[in-house]
């Protein structure tokens, strides 16, 4: 019996060690969210009495895999009636997912507060104001897929083959802009990677311009900040990807070692962009109590 118990205990310890090892390798760069935000319940309320203040509170957290400091803009209201002060508020640095925190950052809060100034509208019974909050933040998508490089890919009797799947890319990388597909072409020591990206979030990526005043030619742009394979840089065209219907692509090329044998190598691709996302507007009714 004692022996049996000892064996069971040892087995249990071994199995738990194995479990923890596997969780260490869990890919935490997944998901399509960046900054996630929502109005706090009843802030603002649907009805406000003119004697009380209008309080807007937004809860946000970083559910993506890049640390950023978002800026929030409160819009949709008449500032002569609701003088919220500066509609722009800078949030604290919000850390996202990491190896040790795979569920994303903590909830943080941002708020605006304003009295109701009716001025000469003293006879009004009630009226509506539409409030919406827009978040703008810098973000990056970082992917490290494993690519099989086989310089003799097209030779019929090549000896050591590896499969040509690109591993560990997934369909999202913990950011609203996702690298959805990588296709490789190889010719001698030249490799070509065709990279397809998709805007999987509900917002708009952009590179230049004022967040709240973006012209049509400024939106849906993503920059390829870095692309490497086996540590060697790749040259991407275009460097600035323009998305059409939320999708776009670039082709990156570079030299790889021509040792003759197939081998696996880690590629690293980093996309950078600004991202703008708005909450659905919340309509509030202000009731005038003289």
């Amino acid at each position: 019996m004692k022996k049996g118990l000892l064996i069971l205990t040892i087995l249990f310890i071994i199995s738990s060690c194995t479990e923890s090892q596997s969780s260490d390798h869990e890919n935490w760069r997944t998901g399509t969210q960046g900054i996630v935000m929502s109005f706090m319940q009843d802030k603002p309320p649907t009805e406000v009495i003119s004697r009380s203040n209008v309080e807007v509170m937004v809860k946000y957290s970083n559910k993506g895999a890049y640390t950023t400091s978002p800026t929030f803009y409160l819009t949709g209201y008449d500032s002569s009636i609701l003088p919220f002060g500066s509609p722009e508020k800078r949030g604290d640095s919000a850390s996202g997912k990491s190896q040790y925190n795979p569920s994303g950052g903590q909830d943080e809060f941002i708020q605006w507060n304003s009295p109701v100034q009716l001025g000469s509208l003293r006879d009004i019974d009630s009226f509506k104001q539409a409030l919406t909050v827009t978040a703008c933040y810098e973000y990056e998508t970082y992917a490290t897929p494993i690519i099989c490089i086989d310089p003799n890919k097209y030779e019929f009797d090549s000896g050591s083959k590896c499969d040509f799947d690109i591993k560990d890319l997934g369909d999202s990388q913990g950011a609203p802009i996702a690298i959805t597909e990588l296709k490789q072409k190889i010719a001698g020591n030249e490799i070509y990677l065709e990279m397809h990206i998709t805007n999987r979030g509900s917002g708009t990526p952009f590179l230049e311009g004022t967040c709240m005043n973006l012209a049509y030619n400024q939106v849906d742009r993503v920059s390829v900040k870095e692309a490497r394979i086996s540590g060697s840089p790749l040259d991407c065209t275009p460097k600035e990807i323009r998305l059409t219907n939320g999708k776009g692509f670039a082709v990156c090329s570079g030299s790889v070692s021509d040792s003759g044998n197939a081998y696996n190598s880690i590629a690293s691709i980093r996309l950078s962009y600004n991202y703008r996302e708005s909450l659905p507007k919340k309509e509030i009714t202000i009731i005038n109590i003289k």
Binding site: S80, G119, S120, D125, F127, Q129, A215, Y216, K290
Partner: protein
Amino acid sequence: MQEEGRRPASLTLPYAAKMNRMLTAMMLVIFVAGCTIGGDSKTDLEKDLYKGTQGVVLTFFDTPRSLFEGELLDYNIRIENKGPYKMTNARLVTSVEKGYAEFSDGNNVHVLDSIKLEGKTVYEPYDDFIITTIPIRFKELDGQSETHDSFIFTTFCYDYQGMLFADVCIDTDPYGLIKQGKACTTNSAISLGDGQGGPVAITKIESKMMLDDDVIRPQFKIFLNNRGRGSVIQHGSVDMVCNKEPLSRETYNTLGLEEIELSGRTLSSGAIECIPNTLVLKNEEDSLTCTVKKEFGFPKSAPSFMTPLNVRISYGYTESTSKEISINKILKY
């Protein structure tokens, strides 16, 4: 005996249990009912005062269709302010046929002045009213008549106002050139069919956002309509209309545009211009176009927002009614 002894024992315990259950059930019912009544007693504030097209309403109490000579009739009228505006400068003129009826002072015209009725408020959404009693004595008919049909004429004049608060969108990107999550977009036409609590209603607003260099100049075409049964008179002309004084051409169908306000820009301060600047009803309707001046325009770089457009008009109103009464001779045969 045994049976008797057993029976109470077997009946008493379930009976007590039943009683307990019934009491518990009754308490629960009372508790639930109390909660329900408490829930129903919750009252909301009146959020929409400016609605309807009635204004001030006169209701005549039932009067006999015929009566005898020498009889005294108490002519009762209820004057009720159904709108949200204070009724001022009101005058009720009642007249009867000279020689057939008279009021208590011996005249055939009775004037009731200084009637004031408050408008509704958010706290007091009830209609303010007064009931006035005017005694009318019917005179004896001449010896040749057995009956005579006479009329009681009533004319009521009062000064009133109209106020519109319409939620409009200041759309700083009317052509959608800027990619932004807009809080609102311009409605080309806002229908306001329910009126604003007075007989003259602003029925529709057409809005346009005009781009003028770096600013947006909102323009509103405002349509008005007399929805009541009476006539519109110039504000302050009650003394003329409900009196014997002569009338001028402008007395009827003329409204005053008191103010237009949009996000701190007002007509009185010169930030808004309106064409025409006087309102004259033709076939009971009229319209005017108001535009924010360029120097008071909204920067097109600012985000779109909602704001109340306030339009204030003033006018007088008059309504007349008549009631037919048959005077009968007291026959001595």
